[in-house]
Amino acid sequence: MTQATIPQSPHDHPEHLSHHFESLRQQYDSGKLGIWLFLTTEILMFSGLFCGYAVLRSLHPEIFLYAHRYLSVELGALNTVVLIFSSFTMAWAVRAAQLGQTKLLVRLLTITLVCAFVFLGVKFVEYKNKWEESLLPGKFYRPEEPPPGGKFQKLRETDFQSVKKDASADAKPQVAAGAVGERSTIGPAAIGPTGLSEHWLEGRHHGRESWSGPEPDNVQLFFGIYFAMTGLHGVHVIGGMMVIAWLISKARKGVFGPRHFAPVDFVGLYWHLVDLVWIFLFPLLYLIS
């Protein structure tokens, strides 16, 4: 029945035009719309993690001030440059595909793929260091050494004293809500929520007498955030590498040209989004001051 209604002749429409589209233009615009919709779902997915980050950082900035020093700004910056460069070669590859420069296209895609490998390699080194220093989420956070940088400890000690005063003032149950007492009649919790207790001076120091400065409680949360965000991003890099590899194999056969470059374009859009996420992750995780 359908065979009778749909003409299957290969000669009555352009080579790369699927028969359910009217024109190449319509086909291209539809694909592009689809990719943009996909990218918005990706952004919304990452925004959940960014939201968690924002809440935790606004409630407990001391965790971020303390723990970010465990990360290497050099490696983070290197990966930023690598990813930006790969974005550049990807954008150039789209141009090459549009102009039918097949050899250049294959070369640029290959460079992009190599950059992705470099990125993952650097990421591997970072993860390996974190693993070896037990800078891991949850109960696996058991570092032997405090993070480098002495400025932190001076700064934190003063903060801790003011906190200590507050904590002693809160000994009477009503006072915890006292600062904004008019706004709520709900009394303070007898015990802080699990894992977020107010006894943050005592909690973390058993067996760590060699440390010169105090460590805020719940630093493991930073590494939970760190691994969740960079991990999800890394998964996206791996996904991008697979489609770029597929593009290379297609491009080597000379499939892409001025009238059929949409796959390169769409993979490019995805790859740029991966770059975009990293552009925000880098300052938010590595560059805290």
Partner: protein
């Protein structure tokens, strides 16, 4: 298998020509260079202690970098405005999402959760607290 160039250059068929926009190479290179410079700026800015301003400066620089990537690498500058609308709409919902959750968590923190509230009071002033 590569498309014959004569085909696309001689015909002026609107369905076949002008798929997408070919970005000039100098522009791509300029965007790349600017992104590198801004990466350097954001690293340098983090070494200077500006208090709370550091976070907003870093986010502003990241915002500029992201805009450059979106407008030129991702062709949104020349793209159909419908795609831009979808993207901007998405950002709108993200800001609603994060903004409302942040307002909520900060508004509740001090009064409802004693443990957390007392611990954070020395670190920053919660919304609406008296000086």
């Amino acid at each position: 298998m590569t498309q014959p160039p004569a085909d696309s250059s001689t015909t002026h068929d609107s369905t076949h020509s002008a798929l997408g926009h070919v970005v000039p190479l100098w522009l791509l290179a300029a965007v790349f260079g600017t992104l590198l410079v801004l990466t350097g700026v954001t690293v340098a800015a983090a070494q200077v202690d500006l208090g709370n301003l550091n976070l907003y400066l870093a986010l502003a620089i990241a915002g500029v970098k992201a805009s450059l990537v979106i407008l030129f690498f991702m062709h949104l500058f020349w793209d159909r405005s419908f795609n831009a609308m979808i993207f901007v709409g998405c950002l709108l919902f993200v800001s609603l999402f994060i903004g409302i959750v942040l307002t909520d968590s900060r508004a509740n923190n001090v009064s409802a959760v004693g443990g957390q509230g007392s611990a954070m009071r020395g670190v920053h002033a919660p919304l609406g607290s008296p000086k």
